[in-house]
Symmetry: C2
Subunit: 308 residues, 2 copies
């Protein structure tokens, strides 16, 4: 037995029209072919569904019984197929992304806006989280992908490089280095440095690439917004990657690039589960991110321009 949507559709068409020739036309079939579909259905069910003479076509008692359920059934089938088509065409769907706070606040919203314009039916979710929580959410399938740095354990994850993010010195306008065109790490000796928490990828990038022992760590906070306030209050300076510079557009703050030879960089990646395909909507989002990645990397110039 193998009931098909085509048979159901033909049955309903004939039950409505009570006329093989018309029902066949509406089904885009020749009348004999249509007849064969009905016959195959009757044979599959083992019972005649229509009484037909050349002048009259009518449902048999069993036909009526079938007719009670068939429309709902076909409707369910077509609803399901329709849903799938909507997913494929991205008229519907969901994309969940995890991103480091710096990206979640700065670059990603612009991507979200573009994506929403392209696919207004797709529901977007954004989880701003520190590096490790980002990776956990990807690994556990809570999000489709993350935009983050590399973590300690990247097993089961697949990464694609997005950009490299240079670091900058943030200081108050009256700081001794405020008007340098660029600074060197050696110039920062004995400066009071305001750090982000240890869960932060910014902090981790810094620790991995730099010897900060010559600097004094004055404070450690969790949010960049807080850093702004602390610097303004004269409590120290900070080193942050380019992606976060929009936090520091302030008349009394200065942003000074680190010189080439003491350049520190944070590498950012798009992270997703290994060997797992993305949903159609997520794949479209992924594609958009990769296409737009030039708008955040190589990284520095653009952000400087934005700030000026």
């Amino acid at each position: 037995m193998n009931l098909s949507a085509r048979q159901l559709k033909a049955f309903l068409m004939l039950a409505e029209e009570r006329h093989f020739t018309r029902a066949a036309q509406r089904s885009h079939l020749t009348q004999p072919a249509f007849s064969a579909v009905i016959q195959s259905l009757e044979e599959a069910l083992g019972v005649r569904l229509f009484d037909r003479s050349t002048r009259r076509v009518e449902l048999t008692p069993e036909g009526w019984h079938f007719y009670r359920s068939a429309p709902r059934l076909l409707n369910d089938i077509e609803a399901l197929v329709g849903e799938m088509r909507e997913l494929v065409s991205k008229r519907r769907g969901k994309v969940a992304v995890a991103a480091l706070p710096s990206l979640a606040a700065g670059w990603l919203p612009r991507i979200y806006a573009k994506f929403s314009a392209l696919y207004p039916g797709v529901q977007l979710t954004l989880h701003d989280a520190l590096l490790e929580p980002c990776l956990v959410q990807v690994r556990e399938g809570e999000v489709d992908m993350a935009i983050a740095a590399l973590g300690r354990d990247m097993s089961g994850l697949e990464t694609e490089s997005l950009c490299e993010d240079r670091f900058y010195l943030i200081c108050r306008g009256d700081h001794r280095l405020a008007n340098e065109p660029e600074v060197d790490l050696t110039m920062l000796e004995n400066e009071g440095l305001i750090h982000l928490g240890r869960g932060s990828s910014i902090r981790q990038s810094l620790m991995a690439q730099t010897d900060l022992s010559k600097l004094r760590t004055t404070l450690e906070v969790d949010h960049l917004a807080t850093v702004t306030g602390l610097i303004l209050a004269g409590l120290g300076v900070s080193l942050v990657p380019g992606m976060t510079l929009f936090h520091f557009r302030h008349p009394q703050l200065r942003i000074v690039p680190l010189s080439r030879h003491s350049e520190i960089r944070r590498k950012l990646y798009l992270v997703r589960r290994a060997n797992r395909s993305l949903s159609q909507a997520a794949a479209a989002f992924h594609e958009l991110v990769m296409r737009e990645r030039s708008s955040l990397g190589p990284g520095d110039q653009m952000d400087i321009r934005e700030m000026s």
Copy 2:
């Protein structure tokens, strides 16, 4: 697009097993053939439903979405097909029959008992009604068939002869004709005759075949049970067909056949709608009636034996 039950079943099998070879075996297909079914489904939906490497088979996001609805859908399909099979096999169904009161009380219950034993799942309905209401119910499709006589208007109806029913004289044991082996209509002159109502087929048969002007009509009632009482009270005699004789098994009543040459008969038919097929259950009932018709026709002997 033509979704089929086979595709759904294969999909669910694979979603459960996550293994083409095993799922193929359980589907009684070779693995490549099974693979082709899955591919045809994916092609029909325009989206991959399974991520497969040689070592792992897993649902894609779209596959999961499909999986949310597919089991219910397949279940509905199989439920419908199952229902149809039950109707065909007469494990379920309905049969509604209309019958003249004489048959509804006497012969038909025995048929119902036999039918119920054969098909305990089929629900039987019996409408005992006078001739014209019987025919109306058939014509309007309220019942599958009727067991009745011929009416004035038989258009749209199809009849099959069931039996002929002889008439008998019913009188009290102390009546002058009580011990005759048979009586002639002429012997009934000036008798007081108890009639049934004009809607009754018994009355109509009598009127059509006999000149009753020599007899006095003393009373006219609607139910045979009442006739019994009236005869016992000495209010007259009655003429009734053989099928009703069980009403008159009473020590003080006598049943006397009418002689051959003044024989009156009531013809009984199975009546159904013209050009309309019966439901499977009704067809089985019809067949049983026709097979058992010898147990009521030619009519007389048996009833006489029963009465003795």
